[in-house]
Symmetry: C2
Subunit: 620 residues, 2 copies
């Protein structure tokens, strides 16, 4: 309520979006004679208003019976308000308070309104300011006004907020809403994202517990304290922009979770920025793609244990369940640890994919896609089960017309960076992470398609090579071998980071939350969950060691096949070479040490002296 | 000259170091009766001094005839000074000027001096301040005083400065001095480096054109303008500390060269810091180890072309010479380009070393060191010549007692980071730099010696395996093949950086300055110098392509040998796989694209649609 020109319609319309109830404009219920009178510049008298108010009053009763409504109505006098409220049980009166000068000014700037400015004076004369309800100063932005009304209405605050309604943000939001939480969602309404929130709310109008915002302050004040929000935006500098905007608006103790694929070093920095504001920051890796986010992802939150306690209930409720019904979300460790292990997760994923691509390439030499799919199904029904093997079968079977879709897909692999981050982290930590690097490089090489086509030799590289007889049992063993070394290298990378950064990671728990919800879920991951309870390392696990020992020969045979077929198996080769070297007491690095000492006086250690002693030889 | 206690001896001693002439103390030439008189607290009269001054005068004549000298002598009265200078052609009088109070204070703080403080007054009474010579206020540090004297003496300024007298800095300094330049060298005199400058000067006292400094300001003011100095200190944060100390002391237009192995990104930042001070900064890669630095390194300066002009003469004079007598120093490009290509140089070096280590490991199965050395000599006499092959021969031949030194060296390879930097740069640029990564990882793996010994299997890994028959011609071809791919990958990495950073690198010139003076010098580098004049890429060079094509089979055979011997040849394998993939028009990356689209909706391109179009399939 308030005088003409105070902004009733605008504010009421916004408010209706936040409250998820319809908006009505009292002016639409005027009889025609009233409208004519006002257009002629004549003020309405109380007689004019009587029938109008009766109509509104009846409607209000009806609206309340439905789901409630927001009505914009001047309702200047107490007796009008009495009429309006007589059929309603609960009215929230909101008085929009502005001075004559302010409103006069606004009306003069407005066009096409059917009331001329000179009637304003009579409105102010008629106005009886209510002694009750919510009074809001209109000399603020509409967002601020709505914000203030919302907080004063003592509406139930949201328990959780999601910032960013991209593919992952939307899916996670619905996942949270499914669990019954009151949820606020925010997306900016600019840069081509003008309608994101509206469209999301329309498409999911059945969720009465989702409240949409395009105004950041309103979004924030819609959250109960301490506020808990999940940022789901593209990793990179945008995250810093958003946090710099957010943190000053939040309060000490509020909890902000970055759920994107941020680099762990950036997460560490942001963690410290947040601390300056007293904000609890959590860097959470989230895996599972769109489907996982919607139905239950694997979640890897890193930060302080205290801040995790505040969000554990919600995060654990939306995560996937492991084979024993436990949630695939657990506290990982301090600082950037959550994003670090998500990065390694993706690195392991790169290798799993590359191993399958290498095997597919080899098998294609003697089998068609149907046969390969059948073989893979056989594997997938056994201990080799993995989500990635599973989708590979579906991909092999996917037809387009008479042919296979796979044959029409260009062989240039893309990447989003986490593979190369894992590889670079390995170099920083001094860990021989050969398979991830090989997988990333294999993608890079594939991207030079034009050069490859120009230089193509393809000697004897035709399909259905009759001379090739791959032993399928050996191939299955080689695949298993490669996967074991892949997981060994991935977990060793995390072990090294855990030591260097003092994270105290629990590898059994990490394997457990990766046993479902995420892209690298597999039977192997379940086994590792068990084994890591007592072992720190795959090479300490007898079952793993036995297999590696026994199947080394199969890998060698498959690699020989590949050599003969002029096929590079980057990852399988790397797994074999790593195993060979790690089981060789003597390597040829002594020559490298001698060379380094020769040309650079870098010194060397000796086998017949303590390792603490360094020697230099005058070689000439 | 000056009254007792003004600091004559201290200053004169310092000055003599800077001027590289002997120091004498006039007091040492007093007859005993004078000393006794002074000890008794009695002032000397002019009669006492006459014989003393005559002795000094004769000595001064002698000293001048030799090489000059610095004499500390009170020389209070004009007539004493006349006597002193009568046998000398050129005297620089330096008057140390201090108040009675200041000097009294200092004397009271001194112990063991044979003149008591109360004689000071008589000294001041006798003092006739000279109306000529250099007058210096003694209320400054000794370094400042010497600095002021040096600048006032109009001594010839140095043309070049070297900051840091480590192994490389010392060697380069002597190299510069050999070329006849007046050279100032600086090293801090703290943190265990108290005697570095003194020792360097003593050890190289035959160089009259080297001037040593431990005071930074004195070092700086010893240089002619615009000052040109080469920083030779350990790469890392120390460089920033030094530059932050240096830049404010320098003047606009002065040129600072960082000759260490700094990371190119740091060089870029420092370049911008220098610009704020108006300093011309040059990041120069320097290769060649101690010997190269002394006799002629390969120098890779990056910065502005203008600043390079100021130092080109000196840098080019100290560099190695190529086969045509041209200097192995050339302007590389802007910003961090010099340090970038030095980093890649080192990456190539890692691979060259690793290839030799792999071949050494394989050959060791059937040959002794003498035989291997003989084989390598044969290779080295032909087109396979390289410095690294050369030193490998000498290493193989080096004996200790009855055995070979190589067998006593521990097989844990160290590294100083440039290899992993190269690898990480490749990931940043999206370049499949597989061999460098493999070489670095091979070193990392070697460092896990304890695990390797614990896990050792060494199946059939004994020496002199009679079943093995390596074809030595194939091995030579494989070695050559690996080296070609190594250089291809290295130059492609530089090409990519050149494009991304806009450096406009000249690869023919880079190959030329790497053809001598540096660790990876080889006949191949000379060939590349020629070929790069018209080609951008080794794969565009017919001679290279022919060899790769022809010798692919040999590499395959050697890799089969290695598989049979349970030996990992990381780098040779990587070279083969890169070649195979780069000559394959169709790889299995289509499966990876399908997988990515399946679980992450990352989209894919198709072979039957323009590459600008991206597709998404609903796979289920």
């Amino acid at each position: 309520m308030g005088v003409s020109g105070c902004g009733k319609s605008t504010i009421a319309r916004e408010l209706s979006k936040h409250l998820k109830v319809p908006f009505f404009d009292a002016d639409s219920y005027h009889p025609q004679e009233n409208i004519d009178k006002m257009s002629d510049g004549k003020p309405l008298n109380d007689e004019d208003r009587a029938s109008w108010l009766e109509i509104l009053s009846e409607n209000l009763g009806q609206w309340e019976a439905d789901q409630g409504a927001v009505l914009a109505c001047s309702a200047l006098k107490e007796k009008y308000r009495e009429t309006l409220s007589k059929n309603v049980e609960k009215v929230h009166w909101v008085y929009l308070d502005g001075s004559y000068e302010l409103i006069m000014n606004r009306i003069n700037q407005r066009k096409g309104h059917y009331m001329s400015g000179r009637l304003l004076e009579s409105q102010f004369q008629a106005l009886e300011i209510p002694q009750y309800g919510i009074h809001v100063d209109i000399d603020q932005s509409p967002e601020e006004i709505v914000d203030q009304i919302m907080s004063n209405m003592e509406i139930k605050k949201s328990e959780f907020g999601v910032f960013g309604l991209g593919v992952m943000g939307s899916s996670i939001s619905l996942n949270v809403a499914d669990k019954g939480y009151e949820l606020s969602v925010y997306n900016r309404a600019e840069g081509g994202e003008e309608h994101v929130v509206d469209e999301f709310l329309s498409a999911n109008s059945e969720y009465k517990n989702i409240h949409g915002f395009t105004d950041l302050k309103a979004f924030i004040s819609s959250l109960s304290r301490p506020r808990k929000m999940l940022i789901m935006i593209k990793a990179g500098p945008t995250v810093d922009l958003v946090l710099n905007q957010l943190f000053p608006l939040l309060e000490k103790g509020d909890i902000v979770i970055d759920g994107g694929n941020s680099h762990y070093m950036n997460t560490k920095k942001r963690f410290e920025l947040a601390r300056e504001f007293g904000i609890e920051f959590i860097g959470a890796g989230i895996s599972g793609g769109e489907e996982g986010a919607r139905k239950g992802p694997s979640i890897m939150p890193g930060g302080t244990r205290e801040s995790y306690q505040h969000v554990s209930q919600i995060l654990e409720s939306i995560a996937a369940r492991d084979d024993f019904g436990k949630t695939c979300c657990t506290y990982i460790g301090p600082g950037g640890s959550g994003h670090f292990i998500k990065m390694v997760h993706n690195g392991i994923e790169y290798v799993e994919m590359q191993l399958l691509a290498e095997i597919y390439a080899l098998l294609s030499k003697q089998m068609n896609y149907e046969e390969i799919a059948t073989l893979f199904k056989d594997w997938n029904d056994g201990p080799a089960y993995s989500y990635l093997l599973d989708i590979t079968i579906r991909i092999l079977e996917k037809k387009e017309g008479d042919g296979y879709l796979l044959d029409l897909i260009l062989d240039k692999a893309g990447n989003k960076g986490t593979g190369s981050w894992s590889s670079k982290a390995a170099f920083d930590l001094g860990i021989p992470n050969t398979m991830m690097s090989s997988a990333v490089f294999a993608r890079y090489i594939s991207s030079f398609k034009e050069t490859r086509v120009e230089m193509a030799l393809e000697k004897g590289a035709g399909k259905n090579d009759s001379t090739l007889k791959i032993d399928l049992k050996s191939l299955e063993k080689a695949y298993n071998f490669g996967r074991l070394i892949n997981h060994q290298q991935g977990f060793k990378l995390m072990e090294s980071a855990s030591k260097v950064y003092g994270w105290d990671l629990n590898f059994s728990e990490i394997a457990r939350i990766w046993s479902n919800g995420c892209i690298i879920k597999s039977h192997l991951m379940n086994e590792l969950h068990e084994e890591f309870k007592t072992k720190q390392d795959l090479f300490q696990m007898n079952t793993v060691l036995e297999v590696l020992n026994k199947d080394e020969k199969s890998v060698k045979d498959i690699l020989s096949n590949a050599l003969d077929q002029r096929l590079s198996m980057h990852c399988l080769t790397a797994s074999y070479q790593y195993w060979i070297d790690m089981t060789s007491s003597r390597l040829s690095a002594n020559l490298i040490q001698a060379q380094r000492d020769f040309f650079g006086a870098h010194t060397y250690q000796r086998i017949d002296a303590p390792e603490s002693e360094y020697f230099h030889t005058n070689w000439l």
